[in-house]
Structures are given as C-alpha cells and as structure tokens.
Symmetry: C2
Subunit: 243 residues, 2 copies
C-alpha cells in the first residue's frame, strides 16, 4: 500500500499513510525503515519520498511488483527448456521466476546474477556454473571482463534473456551499458535466444543496445501485449508466446 501510494504522489506524509492504511504512525515508520533499507524509497522528516529519479527501479521494489504475472512467464519459459540443456540465465526479477520454476529439472545453468544462483542452489539436479565478475551491489549481477571472458569460453543451447525494452525497430535494450555488454556476450554464446518480458516493455526502448530483433528466436510475454507489436514481431520471424 505504501509503495502504491508513493507511485501516485512523489511525497506522502507519514500521517497520510497511517490514515490510508488504518494503522498507527509507528507501524508506518517501521515499514518505511524496511523499505528504505531495501532501497525502495527515501525517508525525510515526516514523510516518505519517491526515489525513482533515474532509469532503473531498484531490485527489491521490482521483485515486489506483478509477482503472479512473472511466475506465469517463468513457468512458460521453463516449459520450453529440454532436460540436459545448457542454459544462460540472465539477471532480473522475471528471469528469477524462471529459476524458481527449474527446481526439479536436470540442466546445466549459468546464472548472470547471484539471485539466480541462490534460487537454483536447492535444485539438486541442476549443475551450476557461475561466470564470476564484479558483483553489482543492488542487482547482484555479474559484470565486467571476467564475466565476458567466461561467456566467451563456453557455448550454450539457450539464453533466457530478461530485458528492459524490446521493439522491432530498436531490438533488445537494457538500462545499463556494462550489463548490456554481458547480455551481448550471452546472446553470442547461445544457439537459441528466448527473451522474456512483460507487455509494458514491448513498447519501450532503453538506453543500451543488446542485439537486433533478428537474433531473438522466441519472445515470451503476457496476454496484455499490444497486438500490433506482437504482429510486427511475428512478421520479423520471431516466435511469440503470450501467457
């Protein structure tokens, strides 16, 4: 409720949040503490302030959004992977749900974030290989030359790509340049590219270019995907699944 209120206005007083939620101000303050620690908002005296200034929404906030839809996407992607495959699992909250759908599968997985590795740790039949590299603080993604070297020395059957934007015109795009570099290497190292993203990202273009639409084999998105975008993608030879 707090995050929802904060999405509408940029600054919401503690008193208003207390009234809105029907609980005491003390409870609000405690919740604001947690949310601030997670990097979901900024606290000022008397109120919570939206911290979404730049491009990228912080991971813990994204992880709290549209959980059910992401779970469906994750299950759909998991269903496209065959047992025994070698898979690069990109970073992001949607691909994280893919990882969670892989618990009892037999695969070799190279996750591009520690979150992915954590999710796959209990999966006994999954062989985990980590790429290494600099660990970006919030996202816990691997970036840098070490990561790219690792991807360059291996070949994979499939890369499950999470992206910030995908259009026929601009291809796959990401917010961050160094992350895009890693994604690029992952695409180059993989025989099949599955991009997974919610419908909102199908009309969006982010800053850093990853690859052209021609390099994408499959797009998995939700049912709210705009029909014209889906048509354009299909005409461009991309297999599109709306789940």
């Amino acid at each position: 409720m707090i995050l929802r209120a904060l999405r509408e206005r940029d600054r919401v007083p503690v008193t208003v949040l207390a009234e809105l939620t029907g609980c005491s101000e003390m409870t609000i303050r405690r919740d604001l503490d947690v949310l601030e620690r997670d990097g979901c908002l900024r606290r000022v005296r008397g109120a919570a302030v939206n911290m979404l200034t730049g491009e990228e929404t912080p991971f813990p906030l994204r992880a709290r959004q549209q959980v059910e839809a992401k779970r469906r996407l994750g299950a759909a992607v998991a269903g496209m992977l065959d047992d025994g495959e070698t898979v690069v699992l990109d970073s992001g909250t949607t691909t994280l749900e893919v990882a969670r759908s892989l618990a009892d599968r037999r695969l070799t997985v190279l996750p591009l974030s520690l979150h992915g590795a954590d999710a796959l740790r209990p999966a006994e039949r999954v062989r985990l290989v980590l790429p290494g590299g600099d660990l970006r603080a919030g996202e816990l993604t691997f970036v840098g030359p070490l990561t790219e070297y690792a991807l360059n020395t291996m070949r994979f059957d499939t890369v499950v790509l999470g992206c910030c934007g995908l259009t026929v015109r601009d291809g796959v795009t990401a917010h961050d340049l160094v992350e895009a570099q890693v994604k690029k290497a992952a695409v180059a190292a993989s025989a099949r590219v599955i991009a997974v993203l919610d419908h909102a990202k199908l009309v969006r273009t982010a800053f850093a270019r990853v690859c052209a639409v021609a390099e994408v084999d499959v797009v998995v998105t939700d049912r709210d995907a705009p029909a014209d975008q889906v048509d354009q993608l299909r005409q461009a030879g991309v297999e599109v699944h709306c789940v």
Copy 2:
C-alpha cells in the same frame, strides 16, 4: 547433542537418543530428518548412523563445530587486514568466520565459495568480485579452469587460506585435488599468505598438496596448538599467532 553422541559411537538408536536428550522419540526423528537433509548423518531403521567414512566431513556439520574458536580465529585474521586491501578469501568454515568479521571493513574481496560471498553481501563497503567456476554441491566452492583463470588474471595483497592440514614437512594440504589446484592459484596470485586453522590440523597432512611452508607468511591458530609444531614453524620463518 545428537551429533556429539554420534561422534563417540557410530550407531545410536533413536530410543537411546530420546533418553539421552530427555525428549520424545518423535522429536528425535524430526531432528534426524533435518540432520540427514544437511548431510550430517545417515538414518537407518531405529537408529542414526555416522556417515563419516571418507576424508571430508560435510560442510553443515563442520559449521556446527567449535563455533566460538573459529570466531576468535576469524576476528584475529580480520585484524591483520588493512583497509583498502585486495583479499582472496578461501573456502571453509573457519574462513567463513573471517568473512563475518569483515562486515564494516573497506576491502576488495574475492571469495572462493558462495558461502563467503553470502556472508559479505551485507558489507556495504566491501567490493565483491567472484571468480566464477563450477559450483561444488555441498561446499559451494568454485573450482575448475574458470576459477583458475580468474585468479591468474588478478593480483592480491593477501590470501586467507583455510586448509585441512599444515606441517613443516608436508606444507599446506587439502582433501580434494581440484580444490587444491584453486588454492595453489590463489597462493600464486597473492603477495601475502595467511593460513588459518585450528590446532588439530597442525599435525595433520591431507591428500592434496597446495604449497610448501616457505610460501606461508602467517599462521593463525588457537592456543591449544602443540608447542613443538609452533616452534618448528617459527624456525621455518613463519609468523605464528595463537589466539
């Protein structure tokens, strides 16, 4: 209590454990479930059986042993690291305690196990770089050519080495060949080698050789270390701390 009982006898009936602990058999069974899942013992009908057959005790069991002593060792090693240093943090339960003592330090750390990475994740001022590689299931250590490549491309001020055995005659030894290979690379990449181990390991020699005593700069162990071993190490030019 269960694990202690199992260290004395190799097979302890559920009824005996119930009597020993003063709780019901059902509770014992539930605890045995957990311990078996963690790989600390094996269950047979009517009893728990010690599973320590081979060389290496499983990680969750070791992590439960001598926690206080390890914590002291960890704090001592942490005190030897200067702010701003680049450090390789070896795998193992003792070095894990070193990681926990590094929470508010400013360092660049390359952990050789996921456990180490997890422990350092909340440390905001620690720059984490992971080596990558194959993830060994139980220990969660990085091994293989990828790990060695990463170590070969970097130089470090210090390596905090956890080892299974260390004697003047046989040098530093480990249980596993591929792990030893990684440790070897870590030693080669570091200007200073700090070995941390409890006193029992000072008279032990394991299977796989890591390096000679001459390559070790500092040994941190506990006060129960045998005096003659300590003397020998000092005569060999090693700085020994018993904490």
